[in-house]
Amino acid sequence: MFTGFMVNAWQVATIVAIVAGVVGFFVVLRGSAFPAHAIPNGAFAGAAGANLIAVSPLIGLGVFSLGAALGIGAMSRRGRPDAVTALALVMMLALGAAFLSLSTEYEPEIFSLLFGEILGVSSNEILPVAVLGVVCIVAVGVLYRRLLLTSIAPEIAAARGLRPQRIETAFLIVVACATTMTVPVVGALLIFTLMIGPPAAARCFTNRTERAMLGSIVIALLTVWMAIGCSYETNWPVGFYVSVFSATWYGIGRGYVVWHKTRVVHLESATSMELG
């Protein structure tokens, strides 16, 4: 499992997990559920289109992800009505299906783009993927504190001149980058689980922001590694394992919260009984 072409897979998986953990932390913080669905759908159409004109899928992924991100930014500035966004989401998927139907390799291509593929990234694409990953992480690092304040208390941030709109656009672009490099491995329909599950779980275990971010990365790494390993053994789709493990971690996190609360209550009542 750890030799030959699988070395690629583990390297890519690690980068994917770290980026998903970092970017996903802010996706969850900002409650950006909609972009987390919409941008991957755009990516799917882009990859399908790239496949059609025999261009590297990364380019198709990148261009359409960026387009979707900027489109979302523009629409939300104008106060988007719900229907057009839901329809645009679906339109992207239909477009991707149309592109794929025009090429010869319909079925396997659709499947791996939607649900992931261990070897989704070929060896000559590892470098661009790593570069994109670094770009994402550096961007989040540079904007870290601004992202925090604009996510948590946008009016206060605006009063300080931090320009929440610009930060939002920048963040959407980061999500587009992250989507471009993670969709080949996890799949367009399931990548959002990796961006949401680990961060949502991590913040159940700690109050401290940096630790929650770190936890998000660690849980994402564990999820992706286990998913790659299981997928290698069973041949079942990577996306399946990623989604199930992400949900499991989230369940563990919520369970811990409940357990912790009841423990605190017992401790408090025990203490008051002693004093009283």
Partner: protein, 271 residues
């Protein structure tokens, strides 16, 4: 305390959808002064505060902070908005939120110095927030969050602190505590305060000046100067009576007149 004003609002006006929201509003605030921006709901107080902050452009008039036209990066203003809802699931402690007040505008991921940590500690002490400093910001009560936002705004040492209806959703005891707290930190930290409210009685003991707003027009001065029948009648455009009772103020329109625009002042508070 210098003589030049910290804030000058000069003949500010703003229209929206054909309605004149603010019309020729002028007043000054000097260092260390506690000013109440009093007016009923919907009268334009939040709009005025947003104009002062530079979040909205007036149609006419000018706002100057420390003599210069406003720029968002000036950081001379601190702001506590009206309704800040923070998700209790967000992993950030109260003390970390206060610390963000120091360096949210900075790029990068540098660690905070010991000196900065001390500053945060002191600020938490000043607003009486030590006992919940390690709790999540989103899990605090309204009054507790209020203190944290005040600490967040004050820690960068602004010259003027703006608060939008901070007393609106608090119980009477918390109102007294916050007013006393603001008065205390204002003098400790040499900060002028501009606080909007629809009820002036809780602020009477600490207000140096009042800016009384109705229908887009404002009168400013000390409480004694402004809260008088003649002044307010002119402001409202019809006769109102001002009654003072046991150190509290009651503003009433004449019988037959619609008390609607004044009725928003729950005037006489009963303990």
């Amino acid at each position: 305390m210098t003589n030049s004003p910290v804030l000058e609002v000069d003949n500010v006006g703003l229209s929206f959808s054909g309605r004149r929201i603010l019309d020729g509003v002028s007043f000054e605030i000097h260092g260390g002064e506690f000013t109440g921006l009093i007016g009923s709901n919907g009268v334009g107080k939040t709009t005025l505060l947003r104009i002062i902050l530079g979040l909205q452009r007036p149609d006419s008039g000018e706002v100057r902070v420390l003599g210069a036209p406003l720029s968002p990066r000036s950081r001379s203003l601190g702001y506590v908005p009206q309704k800040v809802v923070i998700d209790p699931d967000i992993p950030m402690r109260a003390r970390d939120f206060v610390a963000l007040g120091l360096d949210a505008h900075r790029y990068g991921f540098a660690r905070r110095t010991a000196q900065q940590h001390e500053l945060v500690e002191k600020m938490l002490h000043d607003v009486d927030a030590e006992r919940f400093a390690d709790h999540r910001v989103g899990s605090l009560s309204g009054g507790e969050q209020q203190r944290i936002f005040i600490a967040h705004a004050l820690i960068s040492q602004p010259k003027l602190l703006l608060l939008d209806e901070p007393l609106a959703n608090l119980d009477p005891k918390s109102v007294q505590e916050i007013v006393a707290l603001l008065h205390r930190v204002a003098s400790d930290h040499q900060v002028a305060i501009l606080l909007s409210a629809h009820e002036m009685n809780a602020l009477l003991p600490v207000m140096d000046r009042i800016v009384y707003v109705t229908d887009g027009r404002a009168a400013s001065g000390t409480t004694d100067e402004v809260v008088r029948s003649e002044v307010l009648s002119k402001l409202y455009g019809h006769h109102v009576d001002v009654l003072k009772l046991h150190g509290r103020v009651l503003v009433v329109a004449e019988p037959g007149r619609d008390n609607e625009d004044i009725a928003q002042h729950p005037t006489l508070t009963v303990d």
